[in-house]
């Protein structure tokens, strides 16, 4: 399996501010009633975007730049809550190829990386600057540099971070671990043979 090397993403960005945005808000549970991930992009942030009356309400995802944006700028503890991969799937299918935030919930982060979507973190102040800039200048191109751990926009450059294992996987085109895991088959069998409950005791 050969995967794209994800070193740098240049795109317009969209800010969806707020901390502790959970996976139920990213993709409400009723859209998990499905057997494929197809079409989930349409439902990203559905209940935030649409009021109970079915009408659109003011939300960054309803602005014209949302459709054109490839980078999502969020707050802290983004993606907390359930393990549903439907959450990053819906963002990815909507068109976001990278996320920048203050911090990410662990399962969400892992699910995103496994899709080849880097989630980089900035310091609180830098994130606030980026978020404000993106909101003021929707036409500004933002660069998420996974290789060099930087996020830049206009003449601004901020240091960014991402755990080393995720970064290496992305930039080397090994963000989906399945090939490596399959490679270890012999070692897997050896480990299994030493576990009494696995061999049936």
């Amino acid at each position: 399996m050969s995967l794209a090397k994800i070193t740098q993403i240049k795109a317009l960005a969209l800010a969806v501010p707020g901390d502790d945005i959970d996976t139920d808000r990213i993709i409400p549970a009723r859209f998990l009633r499905c057997v494929t991930f197809d079409g989930l992009g349409d439902h990203a942030f559905r209940d935030e975007r649409t009021g109970p009356d079915g009408k659109d309400r003011p939300h960054p995802m309803n602005t014209p730049q949302a459709k054109r944006a490839g980078i999502l700028v969020v707050g802290f503890n983004f993606g907390c809550g359930s393990s549903r991969e439907h959450a990053p799937q819906s963002l990815w299918r909507f068109g976001f190829k990278a996320l920048v935030g203050g911090s990410f919930a662990e399962i969400f982060f892992g699910n995103s990386t496994a899709l080849g979507v880097p989630c980089l973190t900035l310091s609180k102040d830098h994130l606030a600057e980026l978020s404000a800039l993106v909101q003021q200048k929707p036409e500004l191109e933002v660069t998420v540099d996974v290789q060099n751990l930087k996020v830049s926009a206009g003449d601004k450059v901020w240091p960014a971070s991402i755990p080393a294992s995720a970064r290496d996987g992305l930039v080397n085109g090994k963000w989906d671990p399945i090939a490596d895991l399959l490679d270890g088959a012999a070692a897997v069998e050896q480990t299994a043979s030493k576990l009494a409950y696995v061999v049936g005791k």
């Binding site: 707020g18 901390d19 502790d20 959970d22 139920d24 808000r25 409400p28 549970a29 009723r30 998990l32 009633r33 499905c34 057997v35 494929t36 991930f37 209940d47 009021g51 109970p52 503890n77 907390c80 809550g81 359930s82 393990s83 549903r84 991969e85 439907h86 990053p88 911090s103 919930a105 662990e106 399962i107 892992g110 699910n111 496994a114 899709l115 755990p163 080393a164 294992s165 290496d168 996987g169 090994k174 989906d176 671990p177 399945i178 490596d180 895991l181 399959l182 270890g184 088959a185 070692a187 897997v188 050896q190 480990t191 299994a192 030493k194 576990l195 009494a196 409950y197 696995v198 005791k201």
Partner: protein, 468 residues
């Protein structure tokens, strides 16, 4: 060298280091359900792969099962499609499926322990964030995404990085009317909803030692709400007694060896923790959430926080929360009108929860303004409850008695809030929209507090209502 349970289990299951520095970790037990597995089977088929150890994956159906409609086809065709997909996938790949006609179906985190599949010193993964529940038995158990479900199916392993371990000690005796649920809500309130990021939580101290396995499960279950990927309690005699005789428990000659092995996994005296936090059981009172994250909680007799007492970051979430909950900052939560009472979920849908509530419910009536439902988490729980006559107690009090499933814990089945209804709920998440209505409101609490809310039509103190 003295080691934690986490380290010992990790080492015993380490296959090798991966080129990216992560560990290839063997997953001894894999649990699946209808929501997060179909796409994984799809990926497996696309890649032309088989299930490596089909006998180490166990399936059940829980999220989409309608709890008031026991016959198929279900009125929701998508629910029907999902259950059928799981039937087909488990059949095609030779996986044991605890289907609705087996008498063993239920919420995946209840089925594992009930069947004796959940055992100490093992690794457990499931495409569900509340997998931490199984840590009550001294297992390292965590939730995974669908691509990882594929990884486990195909290789029985995952690519992971080790976690740090925080020991959370609670010592002493809980006052009457204070439960395991209050303990975990209190811990999350104090350590924060992201306080656990990067950690496994080891729950220790006399309070947890005195807890039954069911109480330990309630605590471990909500580790994820505290940001921790997994939580566990060291195995002890109570753990072994619980497992003994269960269908998948080691039998006869294997039993003693298994117990010896399980004991050896407990954290060693004098081992190093990355962090230690201590609480006194006596300081904990019945706790309820007032906001839209499980950390936004107060004791029932406390006032909700004033906005200007919060730091800037908390304040923003709190403003959002007060607006959504239609509650006034600085006021009492006690007395807030309740429309729905939900008793169930993998946090508090076990037999001990039903018994405890039933003990106080006899002779009381649900308020005419409240819709109250009780949903046993599993068929075995339901059967046991009926055997003990608990269903009658609930029905006589005015609760609807339902079939096993996730029900109103989340909105994937017909049990949903309507409009801005406020639900007193024994479940684990109070996120906006979690219970099926965008404007619906959830207040998390212990089962007995749910019963008190059902009877009085208000968020109230169960200790007063039931003279506990």
């Amino acid at each position: 060298m003295a080691k934690t349970l986490f380290q010992k289990v990790w080492e015993a299951h380490t296959v090798r280091q991966l080129p990216n520095g992560q560990t290839q970790l063997f997953i001894g037990t894999h649990l699946i359900h209808e929501v997060t597995s179909p796409q994984a089977f799809g990926m497996l088929r696309d890649l032309g792969l088989k299930v490596k150890y089909p006998q180490r994956t166990f399936a059940t159906v829980d999220h989409i099962v309608p709890t008031n409609e026991l016959k198929e086809p279900y009125s929701d065709p998508i629910a029907q499609e999902m259950i059928e997909a799981l039937r087909k996938n488990t059949k095609d790949f030779g996986i044991r499926f605890f289907d609705t006609n087996t008498g063993n179906q239920g919420i995946v985190h209840m089925v594992g322990p009930e069947q004796g599949i959940t055992q100490p010193g093992t690794t457990i993964a499931c495409g569900d964030s509340h997998t931490a529940t199984h840590g009550a038995f001294g297992a390292i158990a965590f939730g995974i995404g669908t691509t990882q479900v594929r990884d486990v199916l195909a290789t029985q392993t995952l690519a992971l990085s080790p976690l740090k371990v925080r020991r959370i000690e609670v010592n002493g005796v809980l006052a009457p009317g204070v439960y395991a649920k209050d303990v975990i809500l209190h811990i999350i309130r104090k350590l924060g909803v992201n306080g656990g990021i990067g950690y496994a939580y080891e729950y220790a101290g006399t309070t947890f030692e005195n807890f039954s396995l069911e109480e330990r499960m309630t605590v471990c279950n909500m580790s994820i709400e505290g940001g921790a990927r997994c939580g566990y309690v060291n195995p002890d005699q109570k753990t072994f007694d619980y497992i003994k005789g269960k269908p998948y428990a080691p039998k006869a000659a294997d039993w003693d060896a298994a117990v010896a092995r399980w004991k050896s996994f407990a954290s060693d005296a004098g081992c190093q923790y990355d962090d230690v936090v201590k609480f006194n059981a006596a300081d904990i009172r019945p706790t309820v959430t007032w906001g839209i994250t499980p950390g936004q909680a107060v004791f029932i007799d406390e006032k909700m926080p004033d906005l200007n007492t919060l730091n800037a970051a908390d304040r923003q979430t709190a403003e959002d929360a007060y607006k959504h909950m239609k509650l006034a900052p600085g006021s009492a939560i006690k007395g807030t009108k309740v429309d729905v009472a939900f008793l169930g979920s993998c946090t508090n849908g076990r037999i001990s929860d039903l018994r405890e509530v039933a003990k106080y419910l006899r002779g009381r009536k649900v308020s005419s303004s409240v819709k109250a439902i009780v949903v046993p988490g599993s068929q075995l729980t339901a059967i046991q409850a009926v055997h003990e006559g608990l269903d009658k107690v609930f029905i006589e009090a005015g609760f609807e008695w339902r079939g096993a499933g996730c029900s109103m814990c989340l909105a994937m089945n017909p049990d949903k809030l309507v409009g801005d209804q406020l639900c007193a709920s024994s479940s684990n998440r109070n996120f906006k929209g979690r219970q099926g209505s965008q404007t619906g409101r959830t207040v998390l609490m212990s089962p007995l507090m749910v019963a008190a809310a059902a009877i009085t039509g208000q968020v109230t103190d169960a200790r007063e209502v039931f003279k506990v």
